[in-house]
Structure formats: C-alpha cells, structure tokens
Amino acid sequence: MSKTPEFGLLIDYEYCTGCHTCQVACAQEHGWPAGMGGIRVNEIVQKLPHDKYYLTYLPFPTELCVLCKPRTRKGLDPACVQHCMARCMTFGPIEELARKMKEKPRMVLWVPK
C-alpha cells in the first residue's frame, strides 16, 4: 500500500447546503456510532461590509475518513459523494481534482489519507 496520497475529495462549497447527508452516509457505510465518522459539516457565518452576512457550510473529513477504499476499489463513489444532496463533492485522483479547481472558485480539495 502506498503511503503517499493519491486520491482526494473536491468540495464545491458554494453549493454545500449543510444537509448532513455525507455524515450519515459515512456512519452507515462504516458502522460508526453517533458522534464518530469520517466527515463533519461545519457552519460558517461571515460578516461582510454594510452589515451583511454570508452563510457557508463546509464538510471536513476527519481522522476517520478512509476515502471509502472498499467502495472506490469497486468503481463506486465514496458513500458521502454518492449521496451528497447538492452534488458538491467529487472523488478522484488529486491531479485531476486540482485541474477541476480551475473551472470555478469556491472549491476546496481535501486529501485526508
């Protein structure tokens, strides 16, 4: 097994709605009890000029994320990616995902493993 990371999760956080599907999909897939799991969704409320605010949700892969190796080996998407209600997560080789980041802003690339 190679130690250098190959794959990642690209998050288009412009569209993440904070639905928490990724969290439960992961818990189900890997049998995590409540409170544990490979991904956690964060809420960020940012103040802007003129007393305006912006609301962002951002899923964050935790120490427990294994990038759904057993699924991806079979050609399936990770559980979170498949079920993501906003279709804002992509799994793939890091280089490919990094190239995708040029297509639009408000993206983040996680390489959890």
Partner: protein, 817 residues
C-alpha cells in the same frame, strides 16, 4: 450452510421513515430479513442516487430498541405510561367493539380521525373514517395551516394547483426537449432543501442554480438560499401580503405584465357594478339570466355581453371585450348602473400599496422590492415556490391569491421553467387534497352533513374534505352541536407538534371515551390513548403514490415482526365497520384506485414501479389551459367557476369574503398589538427546518440527534447581549400564554428583532409518564401559540408570527440530564 446473501430491492420513500412527503427511489439491502443498508437509487429520476440523512438513517430507525412491536392496551390512567401487550386480534376486536358502540350511541360523526402532515395514510385514514361513516377527518394543526390552505386558495382562483418546474414530469428530466431552466426563482419562506416537503425534492433548486437560475429569497432569516440570492427581501413575519401587493404594484405600474395572458385567460374584462361592488351577472342583465354567467363590455357593439361559463366563451362569438373602462349598463329591471372592469378594480387595490407604504409595513427597502419585482417580471421564464410561511398566517388566502396573480400576470403559468399545474399522475386520486375528489368517498352526502366547520367555512364546504381543527377541539368541550366521543390518531403528534396550546389538547384527549393511536414509537401523544397499534415503515408495505408525478409503487421489501402497515390496519377495520365493503385484499383496493391509469398495481410494479403520464394527458405539461387538458368538458380554460384565471374570485365574492388580494395585519404583531409589544418586544417565529428531523420525529435516532442535539433558539448576538444571554446558554422564551426552554444559538442569521425557536421538540430519552411526558412541556414552543385565531375562511393561523421576551434560565432550571 452457505452464508446468506444480501438482496438489493428497489422501493420508494414515504412515511413512516424519513418523514418527508416522499418519492425518492432507494435500494434497500436486506440480509436474513433485516435491513443492513439503504442507499439512493441512481436510476431514479427524482433523486438520481442522492438521499437525505433521514432516509440514510433507516437502519437505526427500523431496528430501534424502542420501536413498538406489539399492540398495547393502557392499564393505568391516561398519561401514567402503563401498558400491557395484547395480540392483534384482541386489539382489533376491542377497537371494533368500542367504536361500534360509539357509532350506535352517538352516530359515526362522534369519532374524529386525526392525521399528521403529508403521510402515506391520508387515503387509508379516509378509507377507515368513511367506512365507519364519519366525515370528521382532522389535520390537527390550527387553521389546518399547512399546505391544504395554500392549495385551496390557489384552486379558488386558478382551478388547479401549480408548482415550480424542475422537469420532474419527465423521466429524462432536464434533458426533456421542451424544458427551460428558470432564469429567476422566487423562494418565498421556504427552506425546502432541509426536508423535501410538498412532494418536491428540495435540492432540485440547487440543481437549477447550478444551471443558472438566480434566486430572489423572501425570508426574515438569512437562509442558505438568502446568502446566495440576487435579492434577499428580509421582511417582517406576517407582512408577506403587503410585499406581494408591492410586487404587483411595480409590475402593473411599469407595464411589465403579460397583456396576452391578461386579456385571453383572466376574468380581467368582466364587469363589476359600482353600486354593489359585486360582479355583474347575467341575471342582472336578463330576466331569468343565469347567476353563474358574467358579463364584459363589447366596445364595438357598445353594450355588455354575456360570458357563458358553461361554454367558457362569450355568448356572441367574436367579442373583443374592453379590459379597462367605465360604462353605464342597463339592467333588466330598467335601472342603469355604472360598471367597470375587474382589471380596473384589481389595479385600484394594487395602487393602494405604493412602495413607500410597503417598505413601512414589511421593513424591506423600497428599492430592493422594486428591483426584485422588475427582475422577476422580466426574467423568462421565472418560477415561484413557497413554503408553509404562506399558510401560517390567518389572511392566507389574500396572500396566496396575490402570489398566484404574480405568476399568472407575468405569463409564467404552465410554461417550461415556470409554475406548472400539479395534477395527480394520470388523475389517480387516492388522497383527496383540497380541490379533488378522492377515489375513496363517504357513502352519502348526508354522512358529510355533520362535518365540523363545513357549514361555516366555505372552502371546507365546497372542496376541502376535512373538519375545521379549531372548531373540533372546541366541540370536544362544548359537545355542541353533538358530542365527540373518540379519536383515532394515526402517525400524528397532536401533543408534541401539531397541536397549538397543547394543554388544551391534553384536556380534550382526557375527556374522550376512547382514543386509539397508531405509530411507530411511543410519543407524548400515545400516552393518552387506550390502545396503541404499531405501524410499519415504508419498507414494510406495498403502497403507491400519485402525488404528483410520476405514479409510483412502494414495494414491501421486508417485515418487522409484530408491526403492520397503516394501510393493512385500516383495511381490516374498514372491512369490519362497513358491511358493504367491496374489497377482499389491499391489492384489490389499489387496483380500483389505479383504474384511471389503465394499470393494476402489479402491472405498475412490473413496469419498474414507475410511470410517467404521456404528453396530451392532464398530468403532463405544458400550456394545458390552452390545449383543453384541464377541464372535464375538454374546453380550453381553467377549472374555475368562470373557466378563467380569476383575478377577482367569484367564489370568494359568493362567500362574502374579499375577492381580491390585499394585506391584513395578523393578530399578534408589534403593529397590531403595540400594547403587548411593551412586555414582549421580540417577534417570535417558529418552524425553521432541520435536515436532521421531520417535525417531531427522529429525536431518538442517534445519528440524527447528533446533528441537532438540543432545542435551539436563534437570537441575534446584539439582542442576546442586551438580555445578558451567552451562546449556548439555556433561556426561557415567554409570552402571555406560557414559556418554553431553549438553548440560545447566537447568530446574525436572524434579525435583531426576531427569535426563531425550533419546533417539534420532545425528549424520547426522558420518562413517558406524566408529569414528564417525555419532557414535552419543557421546550414545546406551541405552548406560546394560541388556537382559534384561524382566518375568516377557516384556514391559516398565526404560527409564524407571535411575540415574546427572552431571559436566561436560573441555574437550577437548566436541564443537566
């Protein structure tokens, strides 16, 4: 022995389970008869492989240790939480005997059948109630203030309901050749993506945004949509109707309305008498003329001409009526009266709302209202979608008909990417929403006579087949005009969620002779039942749905020992109550209801469990009013009294209610009650949706509770600061009715003047017995919301806007459990 295999089965979501209004395709992984995993079905056009947190948590739901697995009979006092398990036979025999006794002694109307929101069981509770002979099916919310009123209001003026178009009518979805992505979408008081209400997949709107749809978000909160909107109109709760009048004002005064639609499809040209303020009818013009026919002014002939509602045409063909003007019209009795057009009357009302005034009422800057209205009116196509905020106000009909006028007058009705008619797939109607007649009906009109509220409130009388909730609650106490002796409560949380002023509901339940509850888990409500029956989830039943498109089967993929699907429970009892009951099996019943589709249940299942109505049928868009696809007589037009889209509601006029949209200030706002505002300076709103829960459900599902562990109240940091409240601290929200305890979430997503309290809270982990009642008195915000404030038409209620103050709990009042 070979290790057992996991089978993967397709079915469709609905309640019980995720709680939503359902429709997603799922793959259930079953091993040794147990659900080991559930996933979204990638081949299903609705969700395309995606799935919400609640459906994904089904393994924790279906095998939950607290799940009811046997009928139980109450052995202690109501509320004592003492139960004895009994067999299904014993339970059904007992229920049959008790309910038959009530029917004999007091008549079938003395049993009320209570149901919660959007359940699979509306059809099956009708089956039971109607077989028993009772017309009193009750949706337990004050003013029935969720969805039904909105439908009823739209149907009053438009004949059919309409929803935003995300190409859900076609199996190929967005690839459908005629489809267009809306350029603009108004999201009115809706956090749709959190829970998928109203049989829509909430994230379709996100799909549309990715394809370029720009959002106008009308919401006091900074919702996710608001953050990403082109215009966020942050209105004061309860002022929505003023805002819609402002929109109409901009659109009409800047001449942005669709003249073709106005002249060809609305009743804008019909005449209104100046002396009575009522529509001119044929009976005014001609002796023995029809009450149901109307009139318009023909400028060529220089006289009033009759609009024949049976022909959906002018009596004299080739009339091009005047849309604006004032004329003297001769009546058959020789009098002459001045008349003007509906359009002029409509415009005059709209003219009463200059933007400066609307800004004052709503708190939204006039310029933003103007720019948003212009953007909506110029966008082609544009769609509107609305949440329950529009129902949760007493004057919901003037508001809803105003919004309906918006999509009509901008030419966005039943066009690709606009607001398109929502009809039951293939016109299969198991579940009679307002405006439709279901396949399951009462045996006679006489049995419908005693339906509570049907004499007083005309929408209920005409096409809304429920009893009026507030009147029903009162009648339990007054027994006037007849006593209510029993209640059948099926998957409804009257105590912990649906019921406002829950103390009153508790007293009502305690007064009844016999109460049955059917549910998946014990809840605060089941504590007041005499018998509780354990229901099966959507995975445990065969059923189907036609709300709206496609027509789909729900397929039984497993059973849970001891539990029975709602439909099977009701079917069995219906058979016992109705000597003429004509079905042998549940599938016979399904086949009968499915007849208009030309398929039996098994045939539909064999087709993959899904069928889309073809072009040319009434449940397939577009422009159905032009193509004669809406009306039974196949004439072009709408299913309204006039056959037209009614800017002026003929029904409302007949019911002595205002026929035209307008603003009415709700009963408990700082504007209507400045006296109360001194003590209760904050606007209390409730019902913000959480993706973890559907209303009162799912607090006992560990994965979901982890997402949203406590009852939270959103408070602006400045407001919290002024009241000495820190983030995460426990507070009381209080008004003249009572108080409830919440965990403060300090966040600028709410305005400084508002508190948003989560609804539906109880604590399944706490004691069932009174006084705890699963802790339901602690954080139930409904204790601050009254009953009996429904609108003039019996619909709508002030749920989204009350008033309150907030203060910190004392240390000993904080919940340490």
């Amino acid at each position: 022995m070979k290790a057992s295999q996991t089978g993967i089965f397709k079915t469709t979501t609905w309640s019980p389970g995720p709680g939503c209004h359902g429709g997603c395709g799922v793959l259930a992984h079953i091993k040794d008869g147990k659900l080991v995993k559930i996933e979204g079905d990638p081949d299903h056009p609705m969700n395309q492989g995606r799935l919400c947190a609640r459906a994904l948590a089904m393994t924790q739901y279906i095998d939950h240790p607290d799940r009811l697995r046997s009928p139980v009979k109450r052995v202690g006092k109501r509320g004592e939480g003492k139960w004895e398990e009994i067999s299904w036979d014993e339970a059904l025999d007992l229920i049959e005997a008790k309910m038959k006794k009530i029917r004999e002694d007091y008549g079938p109307e003395s049993m009320v059948f209570n149901v919660g929101t959007g359940r699979d069981i509306y059809a099956w509770i009708s089956l039971l109630a109607y077989a028993y002979g009772s017309p009193n099916i009750m949706f337990g919310l004050t003013g029935q203030a969720c969805y039904g009123p909105r439908l009823a209001a739209v149907i009053t003026v438009q004949g059919d309901f309409a929803v935003f178009d995300a190409a859900q009518w076609f199996p190929e979805r967005f690839a459908h050749p005629g489809y267009k992505v809306p350029e603009c979408m108004i999201i009115w008081g809706y956090n749709i993506h959190a829970t998928c209400p109203d049989n829509l997949f909430g994230h379709w709107i996100i799909d549309l945004m990715k394809k370029g749809t720009k959002i106008i978000c009308i919401d006091p909160r900074l919702s996710w949509f608001a953050s990403r909107s082109k215009y966020h109109l942050r209105l004061r709760p309860g002022s929505d109707s003023a805002l819609v009048m402002g929109f109409l004002n901009v659109i009409i005064s800047e001449d942005l309305h669709d003249k073709q639609f106005l002249e060809n499809w609305t009743n804008g040209a019909h005449l209104v008498r100046k002396d009575t303020g009522k529509l001119l009818r044929e009976k005014d013009l001609v002796k023995d003329g029809a009450e149901g026919n109307f009139a318009a002014w023909d400028p060529n002939r220089g006289k009033a001409v009759v609009w024949d509602t049976t022909e959906v045409a002018f009596r004299d063909k080739e009339v091009k009526p005047a849309i604006s003007g004032e004329w003297e019209v001769g009546l058959h009795d020789g009098r002459k009266v001045l008349c003007r057009t509906v359009w002029d009357v409509f415009r005059e009302e709209v003219g009463r709302y200059p933007l400066s005034e609307v800004e004052k009422i709503t708190g939204v800057p006039a310029k933003d209202i103007h720019d948003a209205a212009v953007f909506y009116a110029k966008a082609k196509p544009a769609a509107i979608h609305w949440g329950v905020a529009v129902d949760m106000t007493p004057a919901l009909t003037p508001l809803v008909t105003g919004i309906t006028a918006l999509w009509g007058l901008t030419g966005n009705l039943d066009i690709p990417g606009g607001n398109v008619f929502a009809r039951f797939a293939f016109d299969v109607v198991p579940y009679a929403l307002p405006g439709t007649k279901g396949a399951i009906r009462l045996k006679s009109k006489e049995l419908d006579e005693p339906r509570i509220g049907s004499k007083k409130f005309m929408p209920l009388n005409k096409f809304y087949w429920r009893c009026q909730t507030d009147m029903t609650l009162d009648q339990i106490f007054t027994e006037d005009p007849y006593p209510i002796k029993g209640m059948w409560i099926q998957t409804a949380g009257i105590m912990q969620g649906l019921g406002m002023d829950p103390k009153k509901w508790k007293a009502a339940l305690e007064k009844l002779d016999f109460v049955v509850a059917v549910d998946v888990f014990h809840t605060p409500t089941t504590q007041y039942a005499d018998v509780v029956l354990p229901a099966g989830t959507f995975l445990e039943k065969d059923s189907f749905r036609s709300w709206w498109v496609p027509l789909q089967t729900i397929n039984k993929v497993m059973t849970v020992e001891g539990c029975r699907p709602d439909v099977e429970i009701n079917f069995e009892l219906a058979r016992r109550f109705d000597p003429d009951f004509k079905f042998d099996t549940v599938h016979d019943l399904y086949d009968d209801i499915l007849k208009p589709s030309g398929m039996t249940f098994e045939e539909l299942q064999a087709k993959g469990g899904r069928a889309y109505p073809p072009d040319g049928s009434s449940s397939c868009p577009y422009l159905r009013h032009e193509r004669g696809l809406l009306r039974a007589d196949k004439k072009p037009g709408f299913r309204t009294q006039t056959g037209r889209f009614e800017l002026y509601s003929t029904l409302r006029e007949e019911w002595d209610l205002e026929p035209i949209p307008h603003h009415e200030e709700p009963p408990f706002t700082p504007v209507s009650r400045p006296d109360l505002a001194k003590d209760y300076p904050l606007i209390l709103s409730t019902g913000r949706r959480s993706p973890a829960f559907f209303h009162t459900e799912h607090r006992n599902i560990p994965w979901l509770r982890d997402i949203d562990p406590d009852p939270t109240a959103e408070i602006h940091p400045l407001t919290a600061g002024r009241n000495g409240i820190g983030n995460g601290e426990w507070i009381w929200i209080e008004n003249w009715m009572g108080r409830a305890r919440y965990k403060a979430k300090l966040t600028p997503v709410v305005p400084e003047w508002m508190v948003m309290a989560a609804h539906g809270w109880w604590f399944p982990e706490k004691k069932a017995a009174e006084p705890s009642l699963y802790g339901m008195w602690e954080s139930n915000i409904n204790q601050l919301i009254p009953m009996n404030e429904q609108g003039k038409d019996g619909m709508g209620a002030p749920i989204k806007h009350s008033m309150c103050r907030v203060y910190k709990c004392k240390p000993e009042e904080v919940n340490h459990e």
